[in-house]
Symmetry: C2
Subunit: 239 residues, 2 copies
Amino acid sequence: MQYISPPGTLYLIPVPIAPETHQQVLPAYNTILVHRLTHFLVENERTARRFIKQVAHPLPLEDIHLQPLNKHAPVEDIATYIQPLLSGHDMGILAEAGCPGVADPGAAVVHYAHQHHIPVIPLVGPCSILLALMASGFSGQNFAFHGYLPINKEARNKAIKRLEMQALQNQQTQIFIETPYRNEALLAALLDTCKPTTCLCIGKNITAPDGWIQSKPIKAWKQHKPSLNQVPSVFLLSS
Amino acid sequence: MQYISPPGTLYLIPVPIAPETHQQVLPAYNTILVHRLTHFLVENERTARRFIKQVAHPLPLEDIHLQPLNKHAPVEDIATYIQPLLSGHDMGILAEAGCPGVADPGAAVVHYAHQHHIPVIPLVGPCSILLALMASGFSGQNFAFHGYLPINKEARNKAIKRLEMQALQNQQTQIFIETPYRNEALLAALLDTCKPTTCLCIGKNITAPDGWIQSKPIKAWKQHKPSLNQVPSVFLLSS
């Protein structure tokens, strides 16, 4: 591939995970940087437009290039996505919420960027997995994130058993998430499957005014089951 | 334990990981919050004082309570540490750099806080592990952080082999760190031990003006070995 000019820089730009928390969760620097960009790769166009408006981008929206980012895009499409970078434009990746590349698409584009010697710079912002880990009181020296557990009940219970075992044997914090409408089924499965003394941390609606992060043994959660229905949550297990 | 008043809130307060990057990596909200606090648990008193000065805390330093946080503290000491919380004061935990509780002490205190129903709130800030993962282009759906690898050469090479295998078999990004003066020995071991096609991401001096994060196959790193001596770095392996 031939460069007409030096390539641009690919910025990974976090987006708030709860509404109206922009000032609380993003450094002022991020806004300054976003104002300089005119090309974005976006997971969700609607939320990207809202974010760009919220940070008061000086250009009208119609002058800003938003390229939807299809997570199953073939390599040829990724080459097209990053064409502006190769022509010397800086670009930003905007996840739907949280940090691009972490439990979110974007990694394939970043991988391609490295192959083409494009500088990649991540900005600081909210990541519910990291915030839950910090506030869990569980080991932050040794942890694993597994994304979503299987949907099938039997496979899910097996996965929970395996994670509980790994937490105990390796002293490793086990982190996972669920689609919000399945949170309560996952919680019920955790309470049914895990030992009463296993520690479970739940982070519910992290960074939102009503959000909380609490760690308790399974037996204590059983006495006060929280309502997690439809609310983004993170789950952590520790021995 | 009896509460005289409702307990305070325990805030987990990130500290910049590179000098003079305060504005770039911390939300303005963090400063507002730190200004309200008079009690801190700190990993390192000197860096904590510098941070509190940098954010222009309105009180003179001698009126601010800094309790050094000994990571090997017995439970009795932790009970003493959080006494101000139990008496109704809000408190902050300040790591030496980065996020409290992640590859850093603090988790034991947070664990104790949960046992005593003290609200725990993490603030957003820089975490070199998360930033490196975002910018690696490796899987952010499935990853594990292992802290430090063994110092002994044979044990370290064995650990590297195991991590390389886990990266391949589980499609899981493997993240680890090293004491800065041992970075070059670790890099040499990685280049010697891993397959030429295994992908290695190195994040050097993340968030500093001269910092960078790059992903390449082992064989490409062999051709241009970076100098990492004495500079904080994060290492990631992917198949």
